[in-house]
């Protein structure tokens, strides 16, 4: 059972690797190559070169699902910045719309805030490029207080009806 779990974990890591594979692999190879050059230029011993080789080996071996080896996408970062700025402007606008019911306002504002938080987590905190297990390790515990809030709201609503 445990073995099966492990296998599926590796499988998903590999699957992920395929998506970002070529770019990530290229980046890691370049890094390793740079290290090798550095080592030889500084007249270092063969240990340097061997270390660089080793790093190279490890990076390539890792199926290249490497978060810190996937090439950062500046265009995407700027696009996300734009989205966050626009969503913030919408939030401020929505909060000042006269005559909007409190429930509707609450749902709209909380929805926008959760969307913004998720975007920051996925793109800026790189959760999009992490393994499924790490994503779930973050998402599930943080869902707990949200569920608790919903329970409290439901309880409050029920009390109002009595």
């Amino acid at each position: 059972m445990a073995q099966a779990k492990k296998d599926s974990g590796q499988a998903s890591a590999k699957k992920k690797g395929d998506g970002t594979g070529s770019a990530g692999k290229k980046a890691s190879e370049e890094t390793a190559a740079e290290k090798a050059v550095d080592a030889s230029e500084s007249g270092a011993s063969s240990e340097h070169a061997a270390k660089a080789e080793h790093d190279h080996g490890a990076a390539v071996h890792g199926g290249v699902a490497h978060a810190h080896h996937h090439a950062p996408n500046r265009k995407e970062y700027m696009y996300i910045f734009l989205v966050l700025a626009v969503l913030t402007a919408i939030e401020v606008g929505v909060a000042q719309v006269p005559g909007l019911s409190k429930t509707l306002l609450g749902i709209a504002l909380v929805g926008l805030a959760v969307a913004k938080a998720a975007i920051v987590g996925l793109y800026y905190m790189h959760l999009k490029h992490e393994t499924r297990v790490l994503r779930l390790s973050v998402a599930l515990p943080m869902a707990a207080p949200a569920v608790y809030a919903l329970v409290l709201i439901a309880e409050g609503a029920w009390r109002l009806t009595r």
């Binding site: 890591a13 980046a27 740079e34 978060a67 810190h68 970062y77 910045f81 401020v92 790490l134």
Partner: protein, 210 residues
């Protein structure tokens, strides 16, 4: 030999075999995530307490107490989003081995944090106009005032910590510790800083907008 090992000690995590569940996430990164989860629970506790107090109160906003300024705080929110962008760009530059660019973006991020703190000081105590403390929002006088100060100052402490953390990493970057694509520590710093931004997004909504 030993000198070589010490010099290249930072490379260690990269040579670890990949974890079946966490891939190549380093121990440092997983450690930061665990800390952020516990920190997130602290904020969740404060926000839930705020919600319970507000939901159970007949009068939330007492007459005489100032209304929180949304536009100024929206500007602060935008400032934090900007500093998140400069943080990811610092990390991108670190990955690409561009030291000068990395240092510039780290400095800009720290500046963003410092400006946010100035903004919060203006909001609380006033620099160019009266602050909330002078306008009748007194800690301990109402749930409205107390929850506001507790939540925003707890976040403010995170901004202060983050700004000091960025400054420390900035000094190390100037010393050349993160050259040649050694971006792990920058990414871990980024996790903390983006978390501070992420929490502010929620605080801004719950405390100011709703």
């Amino acid at each position: 030999m030993s000198a070589t090992v010490a010099e290249h000690g930072d490379h260690g995590p990269k040579a670890w075999p990949d974890d079946a569940q966490y891939g190549v996430a380093t121990g440092g990164k997983i450690g930061m995530w665990i800390f952020l989860l516990s920190d997130g629970m602290s904020f969740a506790g404060l926000l839930l307490a705020y919600g319970i107090l507000r939901g159970g109160s007949h009068i939330w906003h007492h007459p005489g107490e100032p209304i929180l300024g949304i536009n100024f705080t929206a500007a602060l929110t935008f400032l934090l989003i900007c500093s998140s962008v400069t943080m990811v760009l610092a990390h991108a530059a670190a990955v690409e081995g561009k030291r000068k660019e990395m240092i510039r973006y780290l400095a800009l991020t720290a500046l963003g944090g410092a400006l946010f703190l100035c903004g919060q000081y203006q909001e609380y105590f006033g620099i160019w106009s009266h602050g909330l403390t002078h306008e009748g929002l007194v800690f301990g006088q109402s749930h409205y005032a107390t929850t506001f100060y507790v939540i925003t100052s707890f976040h403010g402490m995170h901004v202060l910590t983050g700004t000091l953390y960025i400054t420390a990493i900035l000094v190390r970057a100037i010393m050349g510790k993160y050259d040649h694509g050694k971006a792990d520590h920058i990414e871990i710093l980024g996790l903390f800083w983006h978390f501070v931004d992420l929490v502010w997004i929620l605080v801004f909504t719950f405390v100011y907008l709703l």
